[in-house]
Symmetry: C2
Amino acid sequence: MVKQLNLTLSLRNRTVPARIGLILLETDHTTELEFARHMPHDLVGVYANRIPYANPTTPDNLKRMTPMIGERAAQILPEADLDVVYYGCTSASFVIGDDLVAENIRAAKPTSIVVTPTLAAVAACQHLAVSNLAVLTPYLAETSALLDPYMASNGLCVVSHACLGIEDDRIMAALDDKSLIKAAEAADHPEADALFISCTALRAIEVVPILEARLGKPVITSNQAAIWYILRHLGLPQPTRNACDLFRTLSELGQH
Amino acid sequence: MVKQLNLTLSLRNRTVPARIGLILLETDHTTELEFARHMPHDLVGVYANRIPYANPTTPDNLKRMTPMIGERAAQILPEADLDVVYYGCTSASFVIGDDLVAENIRAAKPTSIVVTPTLAAVAACQHLAVSNLAVLTPYLAETSALLDPYMASNGLCVVSHACLGIEDDRIMAALDDKSLIKAAEAADHPEADALFISCTALRAIEVVPILEARLGKPVITSNQAAIWYILRHLGLPQPTRNACDLFRTLSELGQH
């Protein structure tokens, strides 16, 4: 026998101070893990949804996601505003273009800031005063080649670009720390001010402190740049885990 | 100019030791937050996907999710095995039935253990030797009424059942701590061995320690029971945050 209570109930202003939506490839093993490990969960709620995606990681397959981006964004807390929506695919962001990604997401979530790994990486380079960039990508060469003009159009000169030629993003996600370090060292260039490790699938944040010590320059990864960008936008402290040049700069400069 | 590296690369056996899939209502503000706050992210990856869902929370609307459960489970890391898939809706689990939920998920993920909030709550009651249960539900009376026969069929006697009559799960998610405590105190019954606060949308884990101190008996919530059940299944330690009778029992008994 169910009794309906007649109580005066009160509501929180917001369910959590800040809300982040993640639009992920259905095959993504990494982005949620790296956000879970670096976001302050007392202050930030992270809400995910997935897009159907078929390998191999060719420009055409990446472009096929475009119509689903807005649809799946709309399914993250319908009618609620999200402070940030992060589209968790670097290669699709430079193949589709940040502007078209943002347009699709804003159709569903008009008040949200849209973050792509590409725009976060460019902002990180600007913040660290990087002009010349070495790049490591895990993608096929035809996909990788499209990153250089993207960077050039954002004022960054790619002085060297090494790719791994992998066509399945799940293999990218499974690369171990040793392989990531070996590939990153091979991709660096003496004229580069920083190394950018492109791809949200790579489990790269955990090796950034080691790489920065070995290479003597900032190392930027897709999810690390996005986490930095989002926390800065929200006015929240940067992570203390995997402390790196990017996470450290803000607190040293006293900015937020 | 992209140069393809020719390196010998090695892969992790698994991208993370344990993988949990979450099937969530698109309107769910709470489950990811409570998992993020209580899961050990060095050992466990949590991968979410959402199901379209339209309020009000009537039995018919809940049943409409059934065909999407398997489809959205299939879109969480296709071809990868998940240790656990959690279907994050209590009322749909007792309306649709645990078996049909599990059948739909196992069609997509045949090796996964399927966890519903209802089966986790029953396991928690058995573990705590609870026979007589007081229940608080936020749902409409017609939806709430279906929980009592579910509990009875699992050997639990509902000695009192109070509902809040809310039809929108987003209002449920917004109830503040004071309201949750007030409603829980009103729902308790002297003959109950424990109080079950039903609904994954309620932000109830955070008030469990206060309620257990006030009521002098275990308080079980949907997501708390699921977190306990999943960590026990994975052989991992229980959370130290929001320590409660359920999280404490295993370590005291030396089980895992």
